[in-house]
């Protein structure tokens, strides 16, 4: 079902996106960036640096926030901004949930926009990332 921009209001919750980033996804991300810090894919290297296991890269997580917003928005608009404040590491092969809610709906420069509060929640129920996004609706309101 496509999103109706006219019906979006403050307090609306985005559908929770359930993910479990695995080592394959992390390695593909490293290849995309052509950056290969060993603690992203080598468990022993991660442990040697005091980490409990291989980590999900922070920049990958900002893209996952973007995806959650983009999938909610569909054809009803576009993502103007997304920000991720990293609070604690996420390990590969562990479930995470991406949650979000509409914090504000407003008009700016003739366009209808919404600010979104986002979070990545780990399996302990703790926020590993606090996020924020701005979207602009393109369909007639």
């Amino acid at each position: 079902m496509s999103l109706d921009p006219a019906a979006v209001k403050e307090g609306d919750e985005l559908p929770v996106l359930h993910l479990q980033p695995d080592l394959g996804q992390v390695i593909r991300y490293c290849a995309l960036q052509w950056a290969f810090p060993a603690f992203f894919y080598d468990a022993e290297a991660a442990k040697a640096q005091g980490m409990p296991g291989t980590l999900v890269p922070g920049p990958l997580k900002v893209g996952l926030l973007y995806r959650a917003v983009d999938e909610w928005l569909g054809d009803a608009g576009w993502v103007c901004q997304v920000r991720a404040a990293h609070r604690r590491p996420d390990l590969t092969n562990r479930p995470i949930d991406i949650a979000g809610r509409v914090a504000r709906v407003y008009d700016e420069n003739g366009a209808r926009r919404a600010d979104l509060e986002l979070a990545i929640i780990n399996e302990q129920g703790e926020p590993s990332v606090r996020g924020f996004a701005v979207v602009e609706f393109t369909s007639p309101a």
Binding site: Q25, R28, Y29, A31, L32, Q33, W34, A35, G50, G58, P59, L60, K61, V62, G63, L64, Y66, R67, D70, W78, V79, C80, Q81, V82, R83, A84, A85, H86, R87, R88, P89
Partner: protein
Amino acid sequence: MPEASLLTDEVRAIVGLETPMGRVRVTPKAYRRALEVYTGRIPRNHPAPGEPVPGYVLAALDSEADTPAMPSLLPNSLLISNEWQFERPLRMGEEFESVYSVVAINERFGGRFGYSIDFRAEVIFKDADGNPVARSGRTMTQYSAAEARDGGDA
């Protein structure tokens, strides 16, 4: 904590300096790879030239050149935030001039890291007229784990 600020004039001078990173292009390959990384889907097709692409394709454009290294002022560093900003949707086939700069350096006293220094840097993607279309920013903090509360861990 150091007896004097580590933010010398030499360090502050790097703020605002622009480093050209070369031209980048939104290609079908960049689209396919980014889509697979962020969604796990392998697309059969790609948008036609001029059609919008998801903003996470930016991550595939980021890697066209190596960004300059930050000055190393403290022994440990940690990524604390990432941000993407778009003036409009990216479109298949368009080319950008990418430019790297450090946009802010701030020192902080106290908190879980003790004395720390935040470096905020970004790559700006400009169109043929020099107008910014997108920005990819990140903030790294440098700190001394020996002085941080809980070693700086979350």
